[in-house]
Symmetry: C2
Subunit: 420 residues, 2 copies
């Protein structure tokens, strides 16, 4: 992107728990999305523990290399909460205890009938020159510092670690302050979401398009059987930015037509539920190898009961017969994992429930269960409606989790195509 | 922990995509687990983009503050892959192209009938003084450097970014090299997993125990209706370390008895399937508000078909009657979300499928659906066996996803208690 003066940010997550194998900094993702909207680029993320020396050192490093430095965590009342002290030390300034914060803490504890320990008052220590940012969701206020370091303007923000507190404080207090200091830009964003297509295919077909839009930043993401193209463009006016995003988005959408299920951010589940809702159609599912995954994905969406009636999980063969009337001889003749059984599942659940659409799934998710003719990853899908039943054979790779997830992606995609 | 000379590590993840709002460094979690096993503490994690200047600068900072520095990413064949050059520059040494790597690349491309572009050969550039680490899963080899920086011993490791390549390379090549240079220690680890209990309760009850074990590092984690206590202890012999972990673990297990479902790392799903398998019992489920989530969690486990027959997802009321014989008047009289309907679901699915155990779930997951008497989060669970049916009323807080997940946790816990 061509920008006159792009500001760069560093996000510093403070807390020893984020240096264990079990926990990760996640605040930086939401902060990055917000900073990008202002045209600020995140160039560094640093994660460190609760050590005064290391924290001060990291603060100094960040002050040298970033325009905007956002700390998350280390603002609580314990001895391990050292962000205030370390930032003051790195800036070479002092801390002054704010009596209003102390009084508020005292009142809060008194109200709950608890004697306050003196250590709590450190949450009222304000870095000299900082503005206090009131925290509506917790006891530790944030801090905002506009200063100079080695002759360069620097903006330092201290935010509490709990995501709920951090997000609210950013939205209520930090965003407006950054908007005033970041060079005025308008950023438009857009996205295309595609299912059951390879990332390499999407890239090969869309790169010749998006490469021509040198003023639009394009990111391609691949997650769990879904490919996303994200577009961002910065211009002097939002209209100019939006026009460029819309242009590249619609060209790429046209190129990938069949695979694109959303240009507005909805998930695949949301899209099929929306389409069924508009057409007053109902659906029921009969799942074997996916074991309820398709039903679970659909019912995770609020309001799904309008279109999704329910279904069966027929893991054992006798249940295929008992609950969805798959003829026992059919299973014996073709095997439980067969096109014929998938068809019988889809038709059986449709008949049993009176739904307009029936989905049937049977396959080998692995790691066991493979036969000579049917390897792990072999799946049969069927989709029945009043006009008949269509079926598909899938040959998926990967472990049990992947086979099951991709099967659910293919089933929902098949349904989406039927509803088009 | 008392250790004679603990070594500290910095993990540096290289790649601009990890500075977007969409993607995160996850390699560092697996690396941290591995390093901790050797008694190495991770003190810093740094994430940065593909900039030669920034990367060189970060390498220098890491060389000053960490004994072991592990880079992930930036070893590929494109112009953006700069880790080799930057580390060489930070160390003040050169790069020499390794002809064996170049030949292997040439052969690999020739085999696939593709003309190799010259830029690919940079994957054979070896930092002077480095050992090449062959990569069985990709084209870019890793590198191992044992050197000095500002008079201190330093170990620098370059690993490829793709998790599969990184994990295999660490296990095959890096672990043994680190073992030779890290002060010999033996680390024993252990964990307790608990369900449907509050983190604060676990901490209040176990802290008086684990605080006495000053030589054992205890971490308490809370995720999705599950609390985990992780223990780690370093001693001159593995027997001493294991004895201390076993001691604190069994004391904490005794304290939290009712809630502990695993002391060996199994998931709640695995535990109930194991218990049913040992007793040759079968299970079927009839889910309303969880929409297949319980079935999906159970069938995610390989071999679950031995005990889990299947079930129904009866989202629409007419399906509760059609598929599991819940009497229509019962629904009219008590409402679909009622103890009576939960009981009828559990008993109905048990009868329909011939399973030994039947689970019935009905509730209001939200955001809609609340009535005057039944708020969002009200859920009824029932568990039927040959001796009768027990029921439970839950009043859960949180959004749709949380209510559904916690319901599945409670249902699996209820089943576990029945199987004890």
């Amino acid at each position: 992107m061509h920008r006159k003066s792009i500001m760069i940010a560093e996000i510093i997550a403070v807390g020893s728990e984020m240096l264990t194998p079990f926990r990760q900094d996640t605040n930086s993702l939401a902060l990055t999305a917000e900073l990008n909207k202002l045209g600020v680029s995140v160039a560094f993320k640093t994660i460190l523990g609760d050590s005064m020396e290391q924290l001060t050192d990291c603060a100094r490093i960040a002050l040298r290399r970033a325009d905007i430095i956002i700390f998350s965590g280390g603002l609580g009342p314990t001895e391990d909460d050292l962000t205030r002290e370390a930032v003051a030390s790195a800036l070479g300034v002092g801390l002054t205890r704010n009596e209003a914060v102390v009084e508020a803490l005292r009142a809060r504890f008194a109200k709950r009938g608890i004697t306050i320990q003196a250590i709590n008052f450190k949450q009222g220590d304000v870095i000299d020159g900082a503005e206090l940012l009131p925290n509506a969701n917790g006891t530790a206020p944030g801090q905002w510092i506009a200063t100079e370091y080695e002759g360069k303007p620097r903006y330092v923000v201290l935010l509490p670690g709990p995501p709920k507190e951090l997000t609210a404080l950013y939205a209520d207090q930090v965003k407006q302050r950054l908007q005033r200091v970041v060079p005025q830009q308008h950023i438009a964003i857009g996205q295309l979401r595609m299912a059951v297509v390879a990332e390499s295919e999407v890239d090969a077909r869309t790169a010749p398009i998006y490469m021509q839009f040198t003023d639009v930043q394009t990111t391609i993401l691949s997650t769990q059987g879904e490919i996303q193209l994200h577009f961002a463009c910065a211009k002097p006016t939002i209209e100019e930015a939006q026009a460029r995003v819309d242009e590249v988005l619609s060209l790429c959408e046209h190129e990938m037509m069949d695979f694109v299920f959303s240009a507005d951010g909805e998930s695949l589940e949301q899209v099929v539920l929306l389409m069924m809702g508009m057409r007053h159609l109902t659906l029921a599912t009969a799942e074997s190898c996916t074991g309820g995954l398709i039903a679970q994905r659909l019912t995770a969406i609020p309001g799904s009961s309008r279109s999704f009636l329910g279904g069966v999980v027929v893991y054992a063969d006798q249940l295929k017969t008992a609950l969805v009337d798959v003829p026992k001889p059919l299973i014996q003749q073709h095997g439980a994992v067969s096109e014929e059984v998938a068809r019988a599942l889809a038709e059986g659940i449709r008949t049993r429930t009176g739904a307009d659409l029936g989905i049937g799934v049977t396959g080998i998710a692995g790691p066991g269960g493979a036969t000579l003719n049917k390897p792990v990853g072999r799946v049969y899908l069927a989709l029945a409606d009043a006009n008949g039943t269509e079926t598909r054979e899938l040959n998926l790779t990967g472990d049990r989790e992947r086979v099951r997830w991709f099967t659910s992606q293919h089933a929902l995609s098949m349904l989406r195509h039927k509803l088009l």
